[in-house]
Every structure is written in C-alpha cells, then in structure tokens.
C-alpha cells in the first residue's frame, strides 16, 4: 500500500523495533495517501514512551488486498502540537480527538477538537491541570442559527432501557439539519485496566467492553494473545468460536429487526423477533452456561467442549429458529406500510460511508463489500467462507435487509459447522508472550470490525492495549444518515445502526 509503512500479516506479530519510525510529516502524508487509495484506518492511537514523549501508531487496513500496514511517529509531549490528519482524512476525526484527550497532544487543524469521553489526560503536561476532570456533556455544540431553527437535546437518560448518550439536534421544523452525538457517559477505563496484564481479570474486562459483543471481543483478544505466544489452537475450538460468533450475530440481528419493527409500531415482528432472540441466546447458553457467551472463549482455545447431545439439541433448535425467524421477518418485506417507513429513510451515500471508514452492516448496506471474515479471515473463517451480504441503497431498509441476508448465511454456516464442533478443545497453560512485539487482531463482530492492537514490553507483559469497537467508526455515520430526515425518524435510523455506547466509551 505504502512503501513507508510496514506490511504485517494478520494473525502474526511484528517486532516493535521493526515498525518504521517516520517523521510526522511523512507519517501524515503516507497515511492520508493510503486511505485515499482504498485504505482505511483500523486503529490510530497514542501511547507514552519512557521519556513521556507520545508515540502515535497507525494501523491501516486495505480490504481489497487483505493487507495491514503499520507505522509510528513521535508527535511530542502533552501540550505540544502536531499537524492533524483529519482535514485530509475525515475518518481520523474521532481517533485524533481521542489522542488529544488521552495524551494532551493538539492535532493542529482538527476542525472539531473536543473531548470524546470526558476524562482528565492520562499524563500530566505543561498546561496546568484543571481543578477537576471535565464534566460530561458540558461542551460547545455545533449550532445552527436562524429564525425558525430550534434545538432538541436528548439524553443522557433516555426513555427506555438503553445506555446513556447525549444527542443534540439542530432542526428546522421537523427536519434535522444537523445531529451531534456526545458520548463518554459509559467510560469506565477498560483499556488502562489492561496494562501490565494479562492477569486473571483481563479476559473479563474484554468481555464487558460491550456485553452484546462478548464473543467478538473475547475472540479478538484471544487471537492477539495467541499470535503473541505462537499458540496452536485445536480445530474443534476454532469451530466452536466461529459458531459462537455467528450465534451472537444471529441473536443480535434478529433482535435488531424486531426492534426496528417495534420502532415503527409493527408489533407482530417486534414481539416474535424479541422472543426468538431469547431462544438464540439460550443456544449460546447451552454451549457455556451464559446467554452472552461469557467464559466460552479463552486464550488457547475454549473453556467448554459440547457433548454430542448438546450438538443434537442445537441442531434441532436451529431448525426451529430458522422457521420462526423466516416467517417473522419476511412479513416485514410483504407489508407495504412497513416498507414505506424503511425505504428512503436515513440514506447514507457510499462515498460518505467510504470516507468515514464505516464498517459492518452500515457499510455493506451502502454496497461496500467490507467484511473481516472475507478480507482478513482468521480461525475457522480461513476454511469456511461466508458470502458477504451487501445492498446498494444505503437506507434503513438496506441495513435491515443486510441483517436478514446475514442471518440466513450465519444459520447455514452454523448448520455446516456443528458436526465438527465436537473436537477436542482446551487451553494450554500459561501462555508466554513475545517481548517487545505488536500484533493486530480483527474479528467481524455482528456490528462490524472489532480491532484489537496489543503491544508488549521487554518483559512480555502488555504495555498498551487498544480496542476499537465498530461503534467507534460508525457513530458518525448515524449522525450523517439522519440529516434531512424528520426528527421522528431518528429512532428508526438509530436502531438500524444499533451502535454500542459502552463499546465506544470503554
């Protein structure tokens, strides 16, 4: 992709010393150029060096060639400035706000430099420390001025069982001109709790990054640890992980289609899908005793080996679930009043999705065939391919339809893989990690690409651990999709993305 970046193979490690250390201008230029040539930013973060300089590391992914490129630069200390990437590379915008907030670096030229999680900087700097940490949501918002413009503020406490976040709409009558999404309420400091690990807490922190994506995050973490320890994973365990990941996708996609139906007041599908989602969670519970798959995926393998009777039970439940989902979901497409609400609502162009580096169903619903299971396959997905599901229209309907296509393909995958899941599983004891190394692990969670980057120190402990939940890429896609829509369509647009607050806030 770019001669200046180091090309690494997904699932392998690189020595930290081998990662090219570029001058900031070269780093910036190479990263921007790579993103323009069909690349995208998978991760971009800072971490402190012993002399309190901040090193920035960028991981760029090129889906078409399946290549990952890494480079680093030294951007200075807390309070110092570096030229921002964002003006030439919009998808860097939240990454650079994160860097600024965590390390006090100032990305010069960033168009909208604000906190994203509202915490004090991780490292004291030249600027005098504020008396108290910043207050969440207390910040300047983008505003539109005009006689008939009004502002709507929603959250952090919403009208339902949902996580907290703040939405600020600039409206003209019913029409939304602009939406600004302010998060950070769920910030509980997961990444910092992972330093100097792994220890007996690490996997549990990872699983709680976003509860509905426990399997996706745990799998990414395990891939990272296994790459760093060159562990060999039994085929049966790889199969089981794949089944669990697809069950997680099935449960959440089914729940989302039900919730979409609920948001437009179409109760049959809402009720049935809500119930079927529970049946699918119970299938995961058969594997490991937890409806969210907690404790199933562990470094070195899986913690449980299903009995033959459990496999038979899963097979029969899968058949029932397939019939139930099919009847409940196809009703959506057959009902004119439903289609009228889904089509043309919350439309996002493929160009915008590409520029923002969207991942998962929102990207695929704009016709972008981006799917880690195809582009960067790991584990069972190296041997068993799931066709990528796309649709062109970029609206709420497309995001719903892509979910339905993925449901069908996940069911077929699980059915095909279940007989192989009986193989032996089981972790190796105490995995020793390679020293001074970096690895990148990508997993296609149900929301999209889960990216974990692990850096180890000279003792083989975790020096820095970066998690990028798909929501981190996608929240701004929602903000764009609701523009020019009626504000009453916000819930249905929001649900069609169904992004994670806690996965973003960490």
């Amino acid at each position: 992709m770019s001669g200046k970046f180091l090309n690494i193979i997904h699932g392998q490690t690189a020595r930290r010393a081998d990662i090219p250390l570029l001058e900031i201008a070269d780093f910036r230029q190479a990263a921007v150029a790579a993103v323009l040539q069909n690349g995208r930013i998978a991760a971009f973060f800072g971490h402190p060096l012993p002399d309190s300089q901040i090193e920035l590391i960028a991981v760029l992914a090129n889906d078409a060639s399946g290549s990952l490129d890494v480079a680093r630069t030294i951007a200075g200390k807390n309070g110092e400035r570096y030229p921002a990437l964002t003006p030439d590379c919009p998808q860097a915008h939240w990454f650079e706000r994160e860097i600024a907030e965590q390390w006090g670096l100032i990305p010069e030229g960033h168009p909208w430099l604000k906190p994203i999680r509202f915490h004090a900087p991780y490292q004291p700097g030249r600027a005098p420390a504020p008396a108290s940490a910043p207050l969440p949501g207390v910040t300047d918002y983008f505003s539109v001025k005009g006689e008939e413009i009004h502002e709507v503020a929603v959250g952090p406490v919403h009208a339902g069982i949902i996580e907290p976040g703040h939405f600020r709409f600039q409206c003209h009558g019913e029409q939304v001109f602009y939406l600004e999404i302010e998060l950070g309420y769920q910030h509980r400091g997961i990444e910092r709790r992972l330093r100097a690990g792994p220890d007996n807490k690490t996997i549990h922190y990872i699983e709680t990054a976003s509860g509905d994506s426990s399997i996706a995050h745990a799998t990414a973490y395990c891939h990272a640890i296994e790459a760093l320890s060159a562990a060999r994973i039994e085929a049966g365990a790889q199969v089981l992980r794949g089944i669990a990941l697809e069950l997680e996708r099935l449960a959440n996609h089914t729940g989302d289609l039900g919730a979409l139906a609920g948001d437009i007041g179409f109760l049959p599908t809402a009720s049935y899908c809500g119930r079927i989602r529970g049946d699918l969670l119970n299938m995961t519970a058969i594997l490991c005793g937890n409806r969210f798959g907690r404790g199933l995926v562990i470094p070195g393998g899986t913690a449980y080996t299903p009995e033959a009777s459990a496999i038979r039970e899963l097979n029969s439940r899968l058949d029932t679930a397939e019939r139930d989902i099919t009847s409940a979901v196809e009703l959506l497409w057959q009902t004119g009043s439903v289609m009228a609400r889904l089509e043309e609502t919350g439309r996002l162009s493929a160009g915008d999705a590409q520029a923002l580096g969207l991942v998962g169903p929102p990207a695929r619903a704009c016709g972008i065939p981006r799917d880690v299971r195809q582009d960067f396959p790991a584990g069972i997905f190296r041997y068993a391919q799931i066709p990528v599901s796309t649709w062109e229209s970029g609206d709420v309907f497309a995001r719903a339809l892509v979910r339905w296509l993925e449901i069908q393909r996940s069911i077929a995958f699980i059915r095909e893989q279940l007989p192989q899941a009986c193989g032996p599983t089981g972790p190796d004891e105490a995995l020793a990690l390679e020293k001074d190394a970096l690895t990148v692990a990508l997993v296609e969670g149900w929301r999209g690409e889960v990216c974990h980057v692990a850096l180890t120190d000279a003792n083989g402990r975790i020096d820095h651990y970066k998690m990028v939940d798909p929501s981190f890429h996608n929240w701004f896609g929602l903000a764009l999709a609701v523009r020019k829509n009626g504000i009453s369509d916000f819930p249905v647009c929001n649900k069609s993305f169904n992004l994670s607050y806690c996965g973003f806030d960490l």
Binding site: A159, K201, N290, G295, C502
Partner: protein, 268 residues
C-alpha cells in the same frame, strides 16, 4: 392480513405460564454450593483465580454481589469445594446476605434472602413502575432487563413495568458500576422519582462495582444517600432472577398470585 393470522398461529402462545416456578437449565452458573470441608490445607487457588475478589478464605465464602459467575474459582479448585448450581434465585434485600458460606444451602438462601415488607407489599404489590438507568453498564444486564418484558417472560403480567420517565416511576433499577460521567445524571434521575421509592441494584457492577470497583473512572458516592432495597446478582443478571427477586420482594410469589391469566393477587 391472512399472513398475520397465519404467523400468529405458527408462533402460538410463547409465554412461560409459570414464570415464577420456571428453572434455568444447566450448565447455567447460578447459586454456588460451597463445601469448605473439601478444601486442601492452605489452598487459596479459588481466591487467586477470582477476578473480582468475591471469593475469600477463612472461612470459605463467596460474595454473590461481586461474583461475575465466570466459574474460574470452580475450575481452579482441585477438590470441588466450589460448585455452581443452576439456581437462579440470587436476589437479596440485605447486602450482607449476599455473602454465602458452606452452611448456606441453595433452598435456604432462595427462601429467605429476599424479605418482603408489609409496607412494600401495600404500596407496590399490585403495581410497580420502574425506571432503568445504566451507569457504565456493558449492556448485558440492560438487554436482560429488556427481555423481562418480552412475550416469553412477560413480567407485565404482575403489574411490573419499565417506564420512560423517572417521574412516572416507583423505583430505580440501576445497572453498571456508576461511571464518574454518569454519576450526576443518575443522581438527578433518582431525585426525580417521587417518594416513596425503591432502588434495585442489578448485576455485579451495580451491587459492588464488580470488575470496576477500583477504577478511578467510577464514582460510587451515589449509594451514600440512596440506600439499595433489593440486590439481584448476575453477570449479566438472568431475566428469571430479576422477575423472581422482584416478585418475592412484592410478596407476589406462590399460589394463585402467579396466575398470568387473571393477575389476581391474594391478600395477605
């Protein structure tokens, strides 16, 4: 129209009729059975394995309020002194009841840990409206609470509902360890509830801080002025654990009061 009727017929009546008597099948990890007599001398494998410090020795005890039900202690134990049963009745009104030891059997715990006060039964026994606030939760507990009102569990049959505004609520259901950034909004929501009101803490994070008890990004000062009336452990808390604990608290469990068709409540 005909498709709708066909669908209705196909899906039948999915409600769990006896939701208070329903059990969660194994391998669900619920109430832990401790047998200290089996502990090898000086062994602390369970204590070292526990990610949240829920397991203690001398004597062997386990704090359900901190437990994430990962089973790491059970796997680490060489002697089978800790075994998780599928018992889902985990709720308790008093915080210290959540710390269980070898002397407490699952049935004793389930029968006594949730106390139902006359005053609570009188005020909320027929109708309890709850406001859910997530304060740093991972959305696991939140999704399980949503599931409580799906057509399977159908918690509304007991007059228990989640409502959209704290102003409409009799109780606040808290999930998450209380992130520093949600502490002010949580306090506002709590003060918006009219008296008399109850607080229900759901999941290890809310009850004890769980994994995040020591995190500098968490602020649990909320509990200094908001006493918790009901603790419901889990990670995440199972819908049946939640429904059963709340119904026990309201004196709704047992006899005809369970009848979902009539919703009749027996006077006590």
């Amino acid at each position: 129209m005909f498709e709708l009727i066909k669908l209705r017929k196909r899906h039948g009546r999915p409600v769990i009729p006896d939701v208070l008597g329903a059990a969660v099948p194994p391998p669900f990890r619920g109430f832990p059975l401790l047998t200290e007599a089996r502990c090898p001398d000086g062994c602390e494998a369970c204590v070292r394995a526990c990610p949240t410090g829920a397991v203690r020795k001398g004597p062997l005890r386990l704090d359900l309020g901190a437990c994430v039900f990962c089973g790491d202690c059970e796997s680490a134990c060489p002697a089978g002194a800790i075994r998780f049963s599928p018992g889902h009745r985990l709720g308790a009104t008093r915080r210290d009841s959540l710390v269980v030891d070898s002397s407490i059997r699952a049935s004793d715990y389930a029968g006594s840990a949730v106390e139902s006060r006359r005053e609570i039964r009188r005020l909320f026994g027929r109708s309890l409206k709850l406001r859910q606030v997530s304060a740093g939760g991972c959305n696991g507990c939140e999704m399980e609470l949503s599931a409580c009102n799906n057509v399977n569990f159908d918690m509304s049959r007991f007059g228990i509902d989640f409502v959209a505004s704290p102003r409409h609520a009799d109780g606040l259901v808290l999930t998450g360890p209380v992130s520093r950034n949600m502490a002010p909004a949580l306090r506002d929501a709590y003060h918006s509830l009219a008296e008399p009101k109850i607080v229900v803490a759901v999941g290890a994070c809310a009850i004890s801080g769980g994994l995040f008890a020591e995190s500098p990004d968490v602020d649990r000062s909320f509990f200094n002025d908001a006493p918790v009336d009901l603790h419901i452990p889990g990670c995440p808390t199972h819908p049946l654990s939640f429904i059963r604990a709340v119904c026990d608290f309201l004196g709704r469990a047992g006899g005809r009061a369970d009848d979902y068709r009539t919703g009749v409540i027996r006077s006590r």
